[in-house]
Symmetry: C2
Subunit: 234 residues, 2 copies
């Protein structure tokens, strides 16, 4: 079993609370899971069997929407929590989750998790703040979806991907996503994404080569949406 003490994900809430000796008897209950590329490890609607932490990898969180359309709720990578909403309210996961590339996960069952939270209030407090931040992000996203044009939403998605995963030296994102995924994340169609990519290329704000996409001029791209959107930060 992987050792939390040796783990490098300092943003992980478990890692942050390791100094508390009470936590030790719970982390030995942790399960390690390895997912291949494209493998789904949370099924939407299935009974919740606990919380996942991404030890290393890339994950997308999806939700089946209206007319069977897929909505990508968020992306996650090292140290982040997945499946935190199968917790509390319902007994079933409201979302699905799948690995974008080979991913290593840590899993705690709901029982272990609840016991741990009851026993380590600092962890509960951190979890509460985590939810609070997620809520912030989500409500900002509601506003974006309610008010941005498709072009703005797509640009915003690129900026999000860039903030989250960054670009490598060749100037392309450190994550490979098909156009359809950008559409499902931005809340539009594949065709619109394609059209917007090509017009952004013409304006030298974006670069792309095959599947790969990268930002060519970040400040100008930000300006495209910041003109009228002063404080959108999620």
């Amino acid at each position: 079993m992987t050792d939390c003490f040796a783990c490098e994900n300092t943003n992980c809430l478990i890692k942050k609370n390791l100094k508390n000796p009470k936590i030790e008897k719970y982390i030995v209950e942790k399960h390690n899971i390895k997912c291949k590329k494209a493998q789904q490890f949370i099924m939407e609607g299935a009974p919740a069997h606990g919380l996942f932490f991404v030890r290393k990898g890339q994950v997308k969180v999806v939700k089946t929407g209206i007319y069977g359309r897929e909505q990508i709720v968020r992306f996650a990578h090292d140290g982040e929590i997945i499946g935190h909403r199968g917790f509390g309210a319902g007994k079933n996961y409201p979302i699905g989750a799948l690995a974008i590339k080979e991913t290593f996960l840590c899993n705690f069952t709901n029982e272990v998790m609840v016991k741990m939270l009851r026993d380590v209030p600092e962890l509960t407090f951190d979890m509460m703040l985590f939810y609070s931040e997620e809520l912030n992000r989500s409500e900002t996203k509601v506003r974006k979806f309610a008010q941005m044009t498709v072009r703005e939403k797509v640009i915003d998605s690129f900026l999000y991907i860039n903030r989250k995963f960054g670009q490598s030296e060749d100037g392309f994102f450190n994550i490979q996503l098909p156009r359809k995924d950008f559409a499902d994340f931005a809340g539009t169609t594949e065709e619109q994404v394609i059209r917007i990519i090509s017009s952004l290329k013409k304006e030298s704000l974006l670069k792309s080569k095959g599947k790969k996409i990268g930002i060519a001029n970040i400040s100008l791209l930000k300006k495209e949406i910041s003109e009228h959107n002063y404080f959108l930060d999620s």
Copy 2:
């Protein structure tokens, strides 16, 4: 000062935790506030000075959006929390809040609130679950905004208002909102809301008289959006 022990809001998280004697020294620090109709008690962007609970009344939570458009984030009434996002992440309120009619509020400063949470882990746990549910609702709303038509979003808003505030004997909602507010909540324009109201009246799904709106046929109205939206519940 109003007495939490005499309060009837059983859904209030403070009320739920009154059995814990540790909480008593914090609830004496509570402030009572009375708001007139249309009075704003949280300013968007202002430094957060604590958490509010609605003791009695009706509140709308708003956020200034793109091009100065207003987005109504949610409505709240007796027992509900307001301003919980000035907590944790930022020091400023990301939202504004104002009374729809005369409203009585309970207010705890951030310092008192944090001390209370540190001292009463059960309250922190409840707060965590509260945030989790809010997150659920918010993410469902993202999906709605991404995928529903304007007509569906407006109908969905009426159903939400009905679930939350109900109708009185005369068959109209127990809350009076101008068309503009429905538009700001549903993420569309006033004109669209008006058009949709009038077509829903023709179809005998809705009734309205002046400002007042009510649902005439709830099951048929639900059917209008449930056809393709199996599990939208927020």
